[in-house]
Symmetry: C2
Subunit: 338 residues, 2 copies
């Protein structure tokens, strides 16, 4: 598998196959909060001027508060975690291990660069030759969590062998107890990626942060070049990230929608194999048929070529969407459904 | 010169040295239209959803109309031309020639990648070994224009020797007669970069376009990875780029401000060495002193370490700003000024 990765969010492709207009569809194919944070007022300069150092620093300080970075660690704004994943092959030499299956762009980018990758399932599979280990925690799509203590022990062990640990915490906003964001950089070989768009429901912004030692952030910033992150993205981050009350309200709303989705899937007798508060993973032999069935009801979910019995289902926006999903699932289970 | 390039737009650094608040300053250090196009209404999905293929295609079609690309050539949206400049060393092998002096990031990125670069002044300086030639046309900062016929002849010649020509038309919006945007891709070794933010006054968006053969656009898109351009940027491009009347109004306004700036500089007896409708280049032995003098008047211009007698001055937003510039220049020329 060295070609292009098939990503979620491809509503256009589903429409081409199953018909309808974008407004007819419920897109549950991503792990993005479907209720975006209200946009703050943005001064026109955020749009008109090149995003300068002040705006960049302001977003960095906001992220330090929001993600609880260690003292003296300045989170680096990036144009989405994806943009850093692409730089990894040129930033790190040596053998690579990726905890998998996981977000496929990691393996894909190293393989395109002609680099060998070991997919590992457990910490015990890491060996002395690994110079870079990648852990998505909580994992996408199965939600597997490696406890914080274990992550820190792995970072220590890798430090002894001159290796680095990247922890992608794209889905850790609602799992602070498993996050090592506050340890990044203090343990100098520990690098943490945070995603802004998933929790805040603003994936169109293209914004993420790297928490790491200054030398690593410097190399990534150099690789990204000047003005890599848009002014509106930096401005919005500066405004909403430090707002604890706002974050609490977003978290409450995500948890309500997650509980509701859980109820809908249980009602339909689906086996829930894992997930995070932003999505659930269904394990079912009929997953492929279920995906097609839901598409006929204009509901898009995410299937996985490497685990055809899996289906990832993101949060509904509200009760109306949950009712539509419930109805579609009932029709799948009912007589003549499948 | 292999280190970091010093860029315009660094108002924060000037404030640190000369004081004042951002609102006190007039920033004439860039070549960006100081009167941004009014932002169109953006549906919340542009912010909330991952920018999908539909939105991407819509921006591409808008750019095809706006920039007049050849039939069957689909302009590639990128997160600012800068993001493509950084990919060039990995996309092109062989000897490099850059028409210079010009925007410094070109040379800098190749040099950081350990690649030799020939800076050339004339078409005759291109030799048979060059596999990639870079021409900023009109040039930044001196405004030098290579006529369209000559650009096309150069592309032909490079094609014969298996070479490619990149023409950076960041400042060509007001010079359609020199643009080869309509020839890009049709001549398969001809690659054109267009900047969205400079003409429309929205540099914070981070948006540009590559016009080239599908194989080249594909390689750049692959290098950029999925979702490289933000949803708001794609949405705004889709809305404003095809609007000929809007573009005409923007052009008229730029030409008025350019004429006014020209008048102010002539009144101050400054030698104008070149420029484009979006900036003027002053050639003066006192350029360094003039830069500092203007900073004391809270007016930021752009100096060049490689040509210390040059000063680039961008457009004022309105007559009030022009009056402040006129006054500051009069004080420089007046008794006890310098």
């Amino acid at each position: 598998m060295t070609g292009t990765v098939e990503h979620g969010g491809a509503l256009a492709r589903a429409i081409a196959e199953y018909g309808g207009e974008p407004g007819d569809w419920i897109d549950l194919s991503t792990g993005i909060n479907p209720n975006p944070v209200p946009l703050p007022d943005l001064p026109v300069q955020f749009w008109s001027r090149l995003p300068d150092e002040d705006l960049f620093e302001q977003a960095s300080r906001a992220a330090a508060i929001g993600y609880g970075s260690a003292e003296n660690i300045r989170p680096l704004p990036v144009a989405g975690t994806q943009s850093v994943i692409q730089l990894l092959p040129q930033l790190f030499d040596g053998d690579i291990a990726i905890f998998g299956p996981t977000y496929e762009e990691y393996r894909s980018r190293f393989q395109r660069a002609g680099r060998a990758v070991d997919l590992v399932a457990r910490v015990e599979d890491i060996n002395d030759s690994h110079r870079l280990v990648i852990l998505v925690n909580p994992n996408n799509p199965d939600g597997r969590i490696v406890p914080r203590d274990e992550v820190l022990r792995l970072a220590d062990r890798l430090a002894e062998q001159g290796g680095f640990l990247v922890v992608d915490e794209a889905f850790a906003d609602l799992c602070p107890e498993c996050s090592v964001a506050g340890d990044a950089g203090r343990q100098s070989n520990l690098i943490v990626f945070r995603s802004f768009g998933k929790f805040f429901g603003l994936a169109g912004l293209r914004l993420g942060f790297v928490l790491a030692a200054p030398s690593i952030c410097g190399a990534i910033r150099d690789g990204q070049g000047p003005w890599a992150v848009s002014g509106p993205a930096l401005g919005i981050a500066g405004s909403v990230l430090p707002d604890r009350q706002l974050r609490n309200r977003i978290e409450d709303r995500i948890r309500r929608r997650h509980a509701a989705l859980h109820g809908v899937l249980e009602e339909a007798d689906l086996t829930i194999a894992g997930g995070t508060p932003l999505f659930m993973l269904v394990d079912d032999d009929r997953a492929t048929a279920l995906h097609s069935h839901l598409c006929r009801y204009r509901i898009l979910t995410r299937k996985f070529h490497y685990e055809p019995h899996w289906l990832r289902i993101g949060l509904c926006r509200d009760r109306d969407e949950e009712a539509r999903l419930r109805e579609a699932l009932a029709a799948f289970n009912g007589p003549g459904g499948e």
